[in-house]
Symmetry: C3
Subunit: 679 residues, 3 copies
């Protein structure tokens, strides 16, 4: 079922923590929010100690006053369930709810996310606080929806408490039914690992070998995802039961959760927390880095979960904890740019983090719109501008969908398997970045498409081209699905290491690329890993030469319809095929025996004649992103986003109106640094 934001109006707003501030500030805060055209506040997601100050004693006074006052000011309220931060009394009395390191060091009270998903007693306490809150606020006219917990699997996405080990045993038992099946799936005959009773089974534990059984390690991630979703379901079920008229979502994009399944099963739509200035401390590597523009990639992933979505924390100032993640301040205009980046990619609800910078605690430097001093500043001004603009055009955008004919394909199995497996795992990120960069710089809007056992041909057929860089794990089902897609006229692009593993992560006894060998029209003759000291041989095509990266496969053509369009140009593999194009039915498959770079991706875009959808009338410089949303009535919104700190000149051949200003644009138009235009 397609997931989308359930509000009737575009929601702009802010995260607010009334419990952090003297009550006399609240009314002024709300008043100024309204002045900025904010409609919504998110409250309460870390306030368990306020709602339940001691075991079984509940208190709603503070938030009743805060929510009533918000309502008086005409603000809507989203409530977070407060389970990310259990109170001190809880973890002190019931330490079995705490998570541990793999070595068995128990995490303790003091920060957040120190609990585990599998302790029965934590389920009981969580269910009770959620039920109490929902029952209390189900009829409040301001409350429109719920955020489950906060950022599941942020901080830590592995779990090794006793409760987790025990739950894993049960999960394995349920999945495999017999120990023979477990031993088969995990290849335990290797190194005498065979299990002969259920209680011998554990999540990975310390060993002298700096490694893990890879098949167990893959199931570990599936188990964590299932544990997280089961814990979320506990909360979601209560909300659905008690307050079916209020929507449910959660926020974040963290490890070891199948967000697609969670959203499908439990949520109305998905939400994300967007901090593009992380790019200043963790920039993407390589030439022409995308930096904050890379957040379009993250938002594309969010969009694959939920066609329109919420951004529940949109960066509004410098970010950082007292001791890490130290981000420079956003430049003038970047807060607005990033807001429209989120919206261009499908956000129909957007809350800034946060109203005012906290004066205490770990996040003292995770700055909000207002400074500690609470007086006017540049960010307040920028928020006002945005509020005014979205007040005019926000509702028009509502429900309009991002337009893309190309998708980069991902799946959870390969990403989880690839965390341990360095012979394919690291390649996906490099190829995805290379492709996203090539697509961005060519002004070709693109989606991310997740593929799994429920994916249908119809899901794929909305695209003309699928780029699936390194699906080492490839089931027969997926292979058949892709074949059907190609035969019907689609293009599929694979990179090295495709198709050689089954669902358990074991290798097929087939020539590479395994189950898609016939589809690709090639087999792999030989291959090698490469590193900086042993670089991969370069590849020559009709138009020039590009580097592979990290891996090289020598291909052998196995089909009459296959054509070699790139060959190695050095070392002992000189002249041998590196890139093969295979015609199948009405479509085409490209197989490249390497990891993609911006250059090889650009070459393939050219091969496939994939260009900007507005090429005929709009000429854009590389620094400007193009994104298009289209509503039910076919009306298009063309977003142009300038990520550079200098002016950029675009050329508009057919006159259009800038919806943000009402100004008619034609000919050479100058966009200001960090500027935004919506046509």
């Amino acid at each position: 079922m397609k997931k989308f934001v359930q509000n009737e109006e575009f929601q702009l707003g802010v995260c607010y923590y009334p419990e952090h501030w003297p009550e006399e500030l609240w009314a002024d805060d709300y008043r100024r929010m309204k002045e900025m055209h904010f409609s919504t506040v998110r409250l309460a997601e870390f306030a368990w100690a306020i709602f339940e100050p001691s075991e079984g004693e509940f208190s709603f006074e503070l938030f009743d006053r805060a929510i009533d006052l918000a309502h008086e000011h005409g603000l809507k309220v989203v409530l977070g369930t407060p389970t990310a931060t259990p109170p001190a009394w809880l973890t002190h009395k019931y330490p079995e709810v705490l998570n541990s390191t793999q070595e068995g060091v128990q995490f303790q009270h003091g920060l957040r996310r120190h609990y585990n998903y599998n302790a029965e007693i934590y389920h009981q306490f969580s269910a009770r606080i959620v039920r109490k809150m929902v029952e209390h606020y189900r009829n409040h006219p301001a409350v429109i929806g719920w955020q489950l917990d906060n950022e599941f699997n942020c901080e830590v996405d592995v779990f090794y408490s006793d409760a987790d080990h025990k739950a894993f045993q049960n999960w394995v038992k349920k999945k495999y039914e017999t120990l023979d099946n477990v031993n088969q799936a995990w290849g335990t005959v290797f190194w005498s690992q065979t299990y002969t009773s259920w209680e011998q089974i554990h999540l990975p534990r310390p060993n002298p070998s700096q490694s893990q059984n890879p098949h167990l390690a893959l199931d570990e991630k599936r188990f964590i995802s299932d544990s997280t979703i089961a814990y979320a379901k506990l909360q979601a079920d209560i909300i659905r039961e008690v307050a079916p008229h209020q929507w449910i979502t959660t926020n974040g994009l963290y490890g070891h959760i199948d967000n697609h399944q969670m959203t499908e099963d439990l949520l109305d739509f998905f939400a994300y927390d967007s901090y593009p200035n992380f790019s200043t401390i963790f920039p993407d590597k390589g030439k022409n880095p995308l930096l904050d523009r890379k957040w379009g990639w993250n938002l594309s992933n969010v969009r694959s979960v939920s066609s329109t979505f919420g951004v529940f924390e949109q960066q509004s100032g410098p970010g950082g904890w007292v001791n890490r993640m130290q981000q420079p301040s956003p430049k003038p205009g970047q807060m607005r740019l990033w807001t429209y980046q989120s919206i261009a990619h499908g956000a129909d609800m957007l809350l800034y983090f946060r109203w005012r910078t906290a004066t205490m605690g770990t996040e003292t430097y995770w700055h909000g719109i207002n400074d500690y001093h609470n007086q006017p500043n540049r960010r307040v001004d920028e928020a006002k501008t945005i509020g005014r603009e979205l007040n005019q055009i926000g509702n028009d955008l509502l429900g309009a969908e991002y337009q893309a004919e190309v998708a980069i394909v991902r799946d959870y199995d390969n990403e989880w398997d690839g965390e341990l497996d360095l012979w394919h795992g690291p390649f996906s990120d490099r190829s995805n970045t290379a492709w996203f960069k090539a697509l961005q710089y060519s002004h070709v809007p693109s989606d991310v498409a997740y593929i799994n056992d429920h994916t249908t041909l119809a899901d794929l057929n909305q695209y003309t081209t699928l780029i699936y860089p390194h699906p080492a794990i490839m089931t027969e089902r997926t292979s058949e699905l892709l074949e059907a897609f190609v035969k019907a006229g689609g293009n599929v692009i694979f990179g090295c290491r495709t198709g050689y593993k089954d669902k358990t992560g074991q290798c097929y006894m087939k020539p590479f690329p395994g189950v898609v060998s016939e589809l690709c029209g090639v087999t792999v003759d030989e291959f090698s890993l490469h590193n900086a000291e042993h670089p991969a041989p370069s590849v020559k095509t009709r138009v020039g030469t590009f580097q592979s990266d990290g891996f090289s496969e020598v291909l052998q053509v196995q089909s009459e319809n296959a054509e070699v369009i790139g060959s190695y140009s050095e070392s002992h593999v000189v002249g041998k095929p590196a890139l093969v194009k295979n015609s199948v039915g009405n479509g085409t498959v490209y197989y490249f025996g390497g990891v993609f770079t911006e250059e090889s991706a650009s070459f393939l875009l050219e091969e496939l004649q994939i260009t900007s959808p507005v090429e005929s009338w709009l000429v854009l410089p590389q620094k400007v992103e193009l994104a298009i949303r289209k509503d039910q009535n076919g009306k298009e919104f063309i977003f142009l986003l300038n990520y550079s700190d200098s002016e950029q000149t675009i050329q508009v051949k057919n006159m259009r109106t800038n919806l943000l200003t009402g100004e008619a644009l034609q000919g050479e138009v100058v966009m200001e640094p960090y500027g935004v235009v919506i046509l």
Copy 2:
């Protein structure tokens, strides 16, 4: 109360370990010490297993013989209490005395400093061994004083045993009285951290978030300091009671101790262990590094505790453990240079570490004056020279005080808060080094002045200029004190991040620089962190341009008496104020919105017209340090120290005598490599 060395003569000597050597060597060792004009030996600080070979059994024979023999040779003796190294039988039987890692891994017997300060039973054992020793040696004519323990908080300066967690609970209870006060001070409303019973309170424990509650983390350091001092007091009280005629000190300059408070409360004077060749493995960063000359900074810190002080371990050879801290050998002359460096900065007692290099154990490569082979070597010769020189001039220097009109201001709160808080913490070290370097290279002697709740205006008024680079924590009291200092004609220089936090480490709801905004005549409009990839904008003044470093604040002038003397010269802040001078009463305040470099510090020295006090008659090259001590009668000793491996030429306009040689100096005088002159 002013602290100073309590001896009647200048003491030169050496650390000696009779227990390490065959008894037949002792007499020859003592004889040769006397030949070198050594007057003092330090003994016994690691000898607990000898004094108390099993629980409750005491033995003084070995040290009685060693001390009697020292006395016969005319040597004075300083005794260390041996508590840094509890015997094996003690920690084996009473493991609760051991310290632990934060994760709960208990340290064990085998090296040193593995105990904690809060185990009751360790207090009892420590009190007993100290009392036994003091009672035994109180009347020995050779024994002049005591060193408490050895290098408190060396090796490790955090403590996580059960005894420490428990003691912290009590410390918090005593400090805050109510849980409400604790919750307020630590901002526990943030992330639901509220404490509802005392037993929930712990020192920081493992968590999944790589951080800590910053206010608790600040109190943790205060608690460690208090624990250390309480433990030291236990010993000091016994010595005062039993042997009030013998002085008390301790040695070192390590983390998480308020040495000023400890010295004020317990000690007669403070002592330091000086190893300038650590500079070969941990050089100060940047252009023109100070290297071993940086030890003048350390000695200035020691001098802020104790106007004259002891150096209880002065480097006499290459240093290093078997497995780390591998230092190259000092060059010929450096041992002498460093001796006079200590003395120039205020040492009135100086013991070399150590008589002879140990042939066994972890410190086999922490070389002493004598080699394993015990035959003449270069270091023995150098020690003889020094002994001869100090025999002539040492007593003249006694009590003479280092002269400085400029002080760099420090305080414990900001340094402890800054350990976790990377948004101001790392700046102090960089600015302090920059200032010390600029002062050194301008031949302007400087002090370090620690400021706290007991500091008086009189304490400050001995200086004309105070440099207080980044006091994020700034109380009203300190602010008022500095204001009074300025009004009376003093100069104060601040850098970025000044004045925005209160004593708990929480932020004021005021525009930066918070409580000193009025004093500085500015507020901060906006700011940014910077790093290598996002460098700070450069600053332009009337004389040129310099770089900020790490941080930039855009200032807004708020006072008629304030004048912009430096502005940003690039990026979106171009032209905006970076450096403002404000006239207040008879004095001046400079506020710089960045971290200091040698260039910006030099610019401000020039602004303030601060120059060498002997500029009129003595021209010194950059490589030569100037230091001046003045005795009660106003007699000045002018130390010139050449830190370079090449000759340096100084120009003496008025004839003076080199006190080390009796030679009259005038005109161009050549100092040898690593040479020393005292005028």
Copy 3:
């Protein structure tokens, strides 16, 4: 007793895991092995869970069928005892058999080598499974020998379980008899470490000081070696008792085992696992790196244990675990090159690792000869070529011994002491590599000679020259042995840090080089560590200048027969002796006060006029290795190995036949890339 491979024919073969594959593949696998002229398979070394699926229940069916079928195909079988991988039921029920980290974190089931050598119950289980297997297979006609366990001390070579601490106490008690002796040997008077009861004694445990008592740390390694050998003996004794007609060996070259003692006491010959492509991820540092050619060094070490030896795992494809040790693929020809590298250095039995790449588990990327797909590939072809060649010449080589007149001397005491002691430890590896490189590039075949308390003058007299770079620990016995060797006409070369420690690792109270000072004719006047920022002074000889590395000693000549042949040419030591040649009896001793580089080693080779033994008729380029084996009848086999990826031209002045091709060679002969010639 000289150890050598006990087979009557040269054995070529492969490691095979029938338990990993469908039984229907076995016959085809064996058939193809025979086609390749393979004669031997190694089986079963990780199959405990198959032999003993539950406690006390034994099952031999699977391996009976696999071994019978091998026999039917004419293959010999080597069996591994399976103790490297205890079954899950064992470690689950008896966790005391598990090894731990120093911090006490217990390793757990899941990979391999997680057991300890000292748990009594593991001894019982190990003895039983070994006895069961040997009794079962003692009379099988295919089974020729046994491999004990697999790669002792691979993965982890330290042990901290309770059983290990306890065993260490007993080991110490047995070695030292009294606590006084222990305290003396470990220098426990330093830092009050004195032990007063046996139960206070432990293996190194956590402490706050990042170090250990160095003498205890040395004994720790001796204890680990003894524990390993005692555990191996438990197995070897059973095999000797039950199947005295089958030989015994083990494979590997790992830390903390005296392989010489183990081989002498327990084994018929020693075996090694050779993976030269580790050089692609851990290349040797410096100019002209040896890379895969460095494996000649490893093989020389193996040869010092066993004059002919087995290679039980010879690299046949890319190697790597799923998560680390990622090696590029060998180039065409390298598998053959490395095979002959092993044989040239003394291998008389060689098994490839492995028949077919595993499709599951941690070693999915430790590729075998066959790929997952089991179809022809380049490596299969290369194996066929090798099989054909060795089928012709393998038996001729059997028992022929590698010829060398120069040996690099090593000993376990210095290597184990040097692990902790950074003031001499790291120098050996650098000097050994420098010397091996200089010898290789000069085409001077060399041995490694281990020296210990059993070494005799006869052992040394097979060499003309001994290079013993940095023997810090030097006993009187060894010193006398070397003196006798020199007096009889031998040459000995020492580097810095020689001779200053006794067997406990404590320093002699003598001038350096301690007990060999007279032999060397020098004492050390002063010395210094050096690092990149403080480089060692260069050394000038009659032919030029070379760098020392890491350390410099200023020498003083103490003998009339000593001559300074190298002096420092800079810094304050300029002109002082650095390299001294001393004539003693009929021989010569060289003492160099530094760490060796290729340049200083080459200079000394020239000094000693050591050149290629075939210089008169064979001119070789640097890239080609020369190795010579000579059989009982004096017949020489001259191996030429081209390690480069380009052709290399050799010049053969006297006509010879290439034994691999039968071709007569004279004049300029071109070797192909990675080519091999045997004359």
